[in-house]
Assembly symmetry: C2
């Protein structure tokens, strides 16, 4: 007997039949004698429906009211999931975020969990009931409804697992787990049986869209071991946990490609102290996330400053740079046809030659590297988008990721 | 400047355009300098949609989960109404039942309001914000979501008006107010400018479907004066308030017809003490609402016992009577083709001859009275359904209700 938190995403509870399917899975786990808390998302599509209705009454809806509105998506699925369990003879009770005691700050649409008072929920849990909790939502300091932003339901599950000291936390999604590369691109990509928080974080932030970074960060902070697996089959998934020594034997854990970035080059900027600071302060003030940054100092105090931003923010970035470049000098060009390829692995800390292997593999295929950036457990390169899939396959092969 | 509570029903907020229409009405009242709390229902039809989804996952959904599910209907309209107000430059904040501090008992699907802690809401109200409150819902003792049952949004509005000591309470609906008779049946029916709680209660319980009895009872208990009016025009409605002396000048305030009753006759029952008690105790145990009761003692200790029940419960009533009649003797017949016609007015207390006038009007037209029952301010007769509309017109005329 174990205490288990499970989370089912919007696709898993997308319609009546899928809700019944989830209920049947829950029943099996409960009848094996486990205590069970289940976090569910809104059914896929409902959030967009609600946003469309909001836009129809008001061009620019307030975030407070948006949270009040969006929270009904999960409130529907918790009730329906509890009912589906009753229908097959399993005792279950639904809890909204507020009812589950999930207290957040008051930053609407992207609230942070401050604390969880799970005593009411735990009482029902100990009484043998399956607890169904609305993901993605909480209660702000004045009792208002808040939502946790993208990936919020995963965060709810991981935070609850920490709060009730669960033995296991299972994140059910529409993929089987975390792969060495995107299986749609690299056909011999393998599912990983386990991965460290750090590796998962690098992959999450690199466009391997299994989970949002902050859920993984939260899990790492509270040492919540969780498993990413599919709700449509019974295959074992990928276990995400604290790094352990044997993990370092594998140099590269996976290859990720992010095609949603844009490269911005400021050429001929005056290379004096403070120029770069002005540029990035201006971008930060405009709330633009800058990712990779490279500066080459050229001839006679003239430098080139290159960085990447999300494609969706490139226009905003150019606008923000306008007044700054009047001071610092420099010409801006934007390239949206780029991709970032990264190889990730905690083994890099103790192995050398990883960069050389990657660069050689790409060079042999004539793929040009436009930017390079490295961290302790990651090497990223920016290349042209049209070579990105090919590059992923080459890197996957170069590090023998197709072999067990 | 006044403090006003308004309530808009499901038809009034039935779609985006109607919500915008309601927002425009609210804006006008707010800009006239009034403080405003607005209670809204779920949009018409959404409750049935949700019930259908519940039935699709579970044949017999639990009442707790049904409340959790149904509460999202109003949560949607409060957010959309607040947004529509923002869209036209009016500051507004939405409150769920729980956020508005509406505490109930734990009787799911028909909870009673126990108390209202309106301090959070009042703070925003005094700050000049329009407060939008979800009708029909509250919070039970353990924080669970409860709903108040049929007509619950009216109850929310009246209870809030009492709690915040509102100067006015306006119940907006799809009818113009309370009429002397159903205008679809009696073409010269007049809208009443005012009516007493007691008269409204008799009309509410008699099938004049403007409001549920318990909202009127609550208003009477806390002396909340309210107005029933239409959200589709600006006509003055009907003010419902404590009876005052001049109201008694009008002998009959209105005529109501209820076609949803069935007449049950038990003939040849043994007339000894306890027979009737056995019959009605059996019906009560089966949770059947008995309305009119008449007993005629006939020859040699044999009596006929006649009563009416809601048509939907007549089959259940016959079933419940089975074992009892084995003891008491008697034969049962059911007539579902009956209607109850009632005339209501506080003036009856001080005027005589009302019954005679009614009976004569119906007798002149050859309409047979099958049952008669009277209270202090009401006379009801049971007649055949096919004469009911005609009878309503005759009664309306007999009491000069078409004249001011």
């Amino acid at each position: 007997m174990a205490r288990i938190v499970q989370k089912y995403g919007g696709t898993s509870v997308g319609d009546v039949d899928r809700i019944k399917n989830v209920a049947a899975r829950i029943k099996a786990v409960r009848e094996a004698g486990n205590e069970l808390v289940v976090v569910v998302s809104a059914r896929a599509g409902v959030t967009n429906e609600l946003i469309a209705r909001a836009k129809a009454v008001c061009e620019n809806p307030s975030e407070r009211e948006m949270d009040q509105l969006l929270a009904i998506g999960e409130q529907e699925t918790i009730a329906l999931t509890a009912m589906a369990l009753h229908g097959i003879g399993v005792e279950a009770m639904s809890y909204t975020g507020a009812q589950a005691g999930i207290f957040t700050d008051q930053v609407h649409t992207k609230a942070k969990i401050k604390m969880i008072h799970a005593h009411a929920l735990e009482k029902d849990l100990r009484a043998g009931k399956v607890i169904i909790v609305a993901g993605f939502q909480g209660m702000g300091p004045d009792g208002q409804t808040t939502t946790l932003g993208r990936g919020g339901s995963d965060l709810t599950a991981i935070a609850l697992a920490a709060a009730i000291k669960a033995d296991k936390c299972e994140i059910y999604t529409d993929v089987d787990g975390v792969y060495t590369a995107d299986p749609r691109v690299v056909k011999d990509a393998r599912k990983l049986s386990e991965i460290s928080y750090d590796e998962m974080l690098e992959l999450a932030s690199l466009g391997s869209k299994v989970m949002q970074s902050r859920s993984v960060e939260f899990a790492a902070k509270y040492n919540v071991v969780f498993e990413v697996r599919s709700s449509f089959n019974t295959n074992p998934g990928t276990i995400v946990k604290q790094e352990v020594a044997y993990m370092e034997k594998v140099v590269v854990r996976g290859v990720a490609v992010d095609k949603d970035q844009a490269k911005i080059v400021i050429s001929n900027i005056v290379d004096k102290p403070g120029s770069a600071a002005k540029v990035f302060k201006g971008l930060a003030n405009a709330h633009i996330n800058v990712d990779m940054i490279v500066q080459n100092v050229g001839r006679q105090g003239i430098a080139n400053l290159t960085f990447t931003v999300p494609q969706t923010e490139s226009a905003k970035a150019i606008k923000a740079l306008g007044p700054i470049l009047k001071e610092t000098g420099g010409d801006v060009t934007v390239d949206e046809k780029i991709a970032k390829l990264s190889v990730v692995g905690v083994g890099m800390r103790t192995h050398s030659g990883v960069a050389a292997t990657l660069f050689q593999a790409l060079a042999d295929a004539g793929i040009n590297l436009e930017l390079i950036s490295t961290s302790e457990i990651k090497i990223s390169v920016v290349i042209q988008t049209d070579r990105a899939d090919e590059a992923a396959r080459l890197a996957h092969k170069a590090f023998d990721l197709d072999k067990l």
